[in-house]
């Protein structure tokens, strides 16, 4: 990016009517590792690439459970993402305390967007350097939203953000018309295919990606490594074609795991992720 005269602080307009600091923040999102979201009438799937600094370290957590009915995948400055996830969680908890019902996704993303906008209009602040794919369910169905550092938000059928996300977007653009009626399994498989596009040749294994699902009758949950690997094996062995049929096999495995604990919470996909890795 070239240097500009008008980019020193966020409260300075350029003559062309741009806020460069906000645009630089959006650039940070593009540099982060890829995150993908897709939705059907009844389910939303979030997927992301696991990026770690070195082979010795664990990968960063990029998918967060916000509530039983909402989850978020982030790309960009993960620390900013963590802070915003905490905000989202508190908003859901407070709404439930007051109204004894789930916070609608559309309301949450507006609050998030307004929070981001504040940082674009205060000279002592900086915009959040993180893009959020918010997936959730409410009375009006399944929703996927994208929240930018600029304070804008959009609803999507499917979207991808982060580095090499264009490859995933191309795949999603080809297939998105089928998503609304898609089954849960096919939605997850399409997410994995899209994710593979961003890896550009690198092998897709359960250790390099994280998948999370939320749906009607299914609380938001990050799938564990075995389930993800089983799904990957299924479609890689099947070849390059997108699968047309249901797969009953990985589902009972996922369901029995979720049935084992009374309230199945976020299960870190990496065994050596420390508990404080929020």
């Amino acid at each position: 990016m070239f240097r500009n005269q008008y980019d020193t602080d966020v409260t300075t307009w350029s003559p062309a009517g741009r806020l460069f600091q906000v645009e630089y923040a959006m650039e940070a999102v593009k540099q982060g590792s890829a995150a993908i979201g897709l939705r059907s009438k009844s389910h939303v799937v979030l997927a992301c690439v696991n990026k770690s600094n070195s082979e010795l370290s664990s990968h960063q957590k990029k998918i967060f459970k916000v509530d039983d009915h909402i989850g978020v995948a982030i790309s960009g400055l993960t620390a900013d993402g963590r802070v915003l996830s905490r905000y989202m969680r508190n908003e859901c908890i407070n709404y439930f305390y007051s109204y004894e019902s789930q916070l609608p996704v559309g309301r949450l993303v507006v609050q998030l967007a307004d929070k981001a906008q504040v940082c674009t209009q205060r000279s002592w602040k900086r915009p959040y350097g993180v893009g959020l794919l918010v997936g959730g369910l409410d009375e009006s169905g399944a929703h996927l939203y994208y929240n930018c550092p600029s304070g804008n938000y959009f609803e999507y059928q499917a979207f991808a953000i982060g580095s090499r996300s264009q490859a995933a977007k191309t795949y999603l653009e080809r297939k998105f018309e089928t998503f609304m009626e898609s089954s849960r399994e096919n939605l997850i498989k399409d997410a994995l295919f899209a994710l593979r596009e961003t890896l550009q040749g690198e092998k897709l294994t359960s250790s390099t990606c994280t998948i999370a699902v939320v749906g009607v009758g299914e609380a938001f949950r990050i799938l564990d490594q075995e389930t993800v690997q089983a799904l990957i094996n299924e479609f890689e062995i099947a070849g390059e074609d997108a699968p047309a049929d249901e797969a009953a096999a990985p589902d009972p495995a996922a369901d029995s795991e979720s049935g084992a604990t009374a309230a199945d919470q976020v299960t870190p996909s990496d065994p050596d992720v420390t508990p404080m890795d929020m």
Binding site: N90, T261, T267, P268
Partner: protein, 223 residues
């Protein structure tokens, strides 16, 4: 010039009794389902028991509006804990949280008389008993509420070790089987119902053990 006094009270007592007994690998929590105000019965079918976590159950008598508010605050705090720790709160942790939450309102207390029951880290039954402002203690059994004065001496007679000076030191936990404990609880309430006007209608019992939680009900006298 006499001191000015309030002509209304923010509190009301909805009556009722709660009991909990801890065993070696189970915990029994019970409460009646009568809700009253003065000499009136508001409903015969109100649960005073609330499950806060998979191994913690709270039974509270007193002012039910405050009890409900307390339950909501604890539920919200528990959700935050789960987000941060990726797991549910243990019963001893919940016990401390309840104590802190109650003391937070030391100068406008929750009019709630609580008994927290559950399983500890080792899977043994644990019962914690509280006053309205958060003073608490882990015990083998406890009773709170309008019938507690009738039930506690009876439980002392049945369950208490002969002397705290006894050697070897006895565990806080009761050496009763699960079914014996349930029968004991039913007996307690049947007796309390006879003499306490605020206790009766129906008894709700929650039994917690390694296989999970189950509920039992027993009819009580309705007068």
């Amino acid at each position: 010039m006499t001191k000015q006094q309030a002509n209304w009270s923010p509190y009301d007592n909805n009556g009722g009794t709660c009991v909990a007994i801890a065993g070696t690998d189970y915990c029994v929590i019970a409460a009646d389902t009568r809700m009253s105000s003065g000499y009136n019965i508001l409903t015969r079918d109100y649960s005073k028991i609330n499950q806060l976590a998979d191994k913690s159950v709270l039974a509270s008598s007193g002012f039910q509006a405050d009890v409900r508010a307390l339950q909501k605050v604890l539920a919200a705090k528990h959700l935050q804990y789960q987000h941060q720790h990726n797991k549910q709160m243990s019963c001893p942790a919940m016990a401390q949280l309840l104590s802190n939450t109650l003391y937070y309102k030391r100068f406008f207390p929750y009019y709630a008389f609580n008994v927290l029951g559950g399983l500890d880290h080792e899977g043994k039954g644990c019962v914690f008993t509280y006053d309205a402002v958060g003073s608490y203690e882990r015990v083998g059994y406890s009773s709170q509420g309008s019938g507690s004065t009738l039930i506690t001496p009876f439980l002392d007679n049945q369950l208490k070790s002969p002397s705290p000076l006894l050697l070897p030191a006895r565990d806080a936990v009761t050496p009763l089987s699960e079914s014996e404990a349930i029968d004991l609880v039913k007996t307690c309430f049947a007796s309390a119902t006879e003499r306490d006007i605020y206790t009766g209608d129906k008894l709700e019992i929650l039994i917690m053990n390694a296989s999970g939680i189950r509920q039992e009900y027993m009819e009580l006298r309705k007068d």
